[in-house]
Amino acid sequence: MGMLRVLPFVMLMGVAALAQSPRYGVGRTPTPEEIRAWDISIGPTGEELPPGHGTVKEGALVYRAKCAGCHGATGLEGTAPILKSKVAKDVDLWERGRILPLRAPFATTVWDYINRGMPLNREGTLTADEVYALTAFLLYINDVIPEELTLDATSLPKVKMPIGDNYAPLPEWKPRTPRLKGYPY
């Protein structure tokens, strides 16, 4: 009886293992630590976020020291892309400019972007705490979060970005299919 119950389970496992078994045996298995060290893709759930935390106040200091040179004292005056909208709050978000800490649909996108891409020519030099702090500062100056919120791996993914789901979903891509049916005719 016990055997009968287990048997289908074992057979399923066997089929799955067969279908998924490696064919060539080439390549090396990375350790979990290696994967963690390499994996800088921060998705919307924030599950990859490292330990650390940062406040708006700390972010303002880091910003002044490491970002203001290119982005300007308040995020508006530099040669690099502006970081704060110049357009009034009551205007549709899509009309307020391509401002990362305002238009991004997830706060994790802001974190990911700063962490991998900033500062220009000194990428990879910011600590996790500094990235949390900068994210907090930039979200604060765009009125996305209150001044007292500390960002960490738990609070950051919970930030509600103003765009919500007000952006176009990507269509499902299929091989051998026109990109947009009926376009242009």
């Binding site: 080439v26 390549g27 990362l100």
Partner: protein, 414 residues
């Protein structure tokens, strides 16, 4: 044969008598019944080791989009290929267009140290060296890469400026699907993120269906290793998708269950669903490279009109050429066999009567999609077709070239 020998010996003797640095053969006289010899290029170690083109061939890439490349700091921005001089379908690696995310130095990567990691929603994460990848079954395919910013404008003076941000090469590598099967993709996986190892570690989310269909982890280009400007030692080829997805210096592929909205993805956000749909796959596109703007026809008579056609939707099935500004269309000849997501050379035999006219080309791909005119695109979007109209998504509109009665060719959009 026999009569050549003395002349050759004479020639060698006189060459040996000259001090080094003279071009050999410069003084070679016409002897007997053989025509005079051309000047000779003296062999040197470098030329023997790695050949060079003739000094009479001067076609070069140019900085694209108004930013200098290199700039004062040695940063490289966008660089366009000289399509006006191209023949056949392969862009030489030295002339292949270059695009960078935001301007960058070219990373100098030791291939012995480089690793590609595949992880995320897989049964067995794996790390590959370049040597590992070369042990696996390979594919060799012709594919174009085109930058999403490859857009004609009324200011552009040549086809290099209107269309130079596309190129086509023969790529060799391992199908990404082979690597993913080796790792075992878990149920629920639907997207993957590809990441480069340059300074910004540019990353893009792409549909897993594309990975399983035809993506290549390439280590070879035009019969040799990739060039550093093209992603040495590994580049992800995503045939038919916009250039930015063809991740250079590929270091990591993460299999995920949602669009990750990472670095490059933010730039692709759109508020209009139909425009978002134009964001991945490149539509059918063609351009006449000869005669094209900046060139001059020496006089009336026969010319083979020549150009390139390509589509992200597959192989080019048909190319048509108009020699009267789009009033009548004639089938062009497709040279060789059109490959999927590859530049395809076409030709059309034309007798120019010496009168002012306008040349255009349009193509149809294997899906039946037809390259549109700008006017047709404006009509589709219900927008007025005037100077303010800008083609949404990648601009695959028909390019008109105006031929004046003096043979000069100019941009028909100007």
């Amino acid at each position: 044969m026999g009569s050549r020998q003395p002349a050759r010996r004479e020639f060698l003797k006189s060459g040996a008598a000259l001090a080094g640095g003279f071009t050999l053969g410069a003084a070679a006289p016409a002897i007997g019944q053989t025509p005079p010899s051309p000047k000779m290029i003296k062999g040197d170690t470098d030329l023997i080791a790695y050949g060079q083109r003739s000094r009479f061939v001067t076609s070069v890439r140019i900085a694209h989009g108004g930013r200098p490349s290199p700039d004062a700091f040695g940063l490289v921005f966008h660089v366009a290929a000289p399509l006006q001089d191209s023949v056949g379908v392969i862009t030489p690696s030295s002339l292949h267009f270059v695009g960078t995310t935001r301007g960058s130095y070219i990373p100098e990567i030791d291939p012995g140290e480089h690793r590609l990691m595949i992880h995320g929603l897989v049964d067995r994460p794996l790390t590959f060296t370049v040597e590992d990848l070369k042990r696996l079954p390979s594919v060799t395919r012709l594919h174009f890469i085109e930058c999403a910013g490859n857009r004609s404008s009324r200011r552009a003076k040549t086809v290099q400026e209107t269309h130079g941000m596309t190129s086509c090469a023969e790529w060799t590598g391992v199908l990404l699907s082979v690597l993913l099967k080796e790792c075992g993709v878990k149920g629920g996986a639907s997207w993957f993120v590809a990441e480069g190892s340059e300074e910004v570690k540019g990353a893009s989310s792409m549909p897993l269906a594309k990975a399983m269909d035809d993506c290549i982890v390439a280590y070879g280009m035009n019969g040799e290793a990739l060039r550093p400007q093209q992603g040495f030692p590994l580049r992800l080829m995503v045939p038919g998708f916009e250039g930015i997805f063809h991740t250079k210096y590929l270091r990591r592929i993460k299999v995920v269950d949602r669009y990750y909205m990472n670095y490059n993805d933010f730039g692709h956000m759109d508020n209009e669903p139909k425009e978002a749909a134009l964001g991945y796959q490149i539509g059918p596109k063609s351009v006449i490279t000869f005669p094209s703007a900046g060139q001059r026809l020496p006089g009336r008579g026969f010319y083979e009109i020549s150009g390139l056609a390509w589509s992200g939707g597959g192989a080019i099935k048909k190319v048509e050429v108009s020699t009267d500004g789009g009033k009548h269309w004639n089938n062009a000849e497709i040279k060789g066999t059109a490959q999927r997501m590859a530049h395809t050379r076409f030709g059309y035999q034309w007798d120019w009567d010496g009168r002012e006219t306008e040349l255009q080309s349009r193509c149809t791909d294997e899906l039946g999609s037809v390259q549109p005119s700008r006017e047709q695109i404006a009509k589709y979007w219900n927008k007025p077709f005037d100077e303010t109209f800008s083609v949404p998504g990648l601009d695959n509109s028909i390019q008109p070239w105006r031929v004046a009665s003096d043979g000069s060719v100019t941009n028909g959009h100007a």
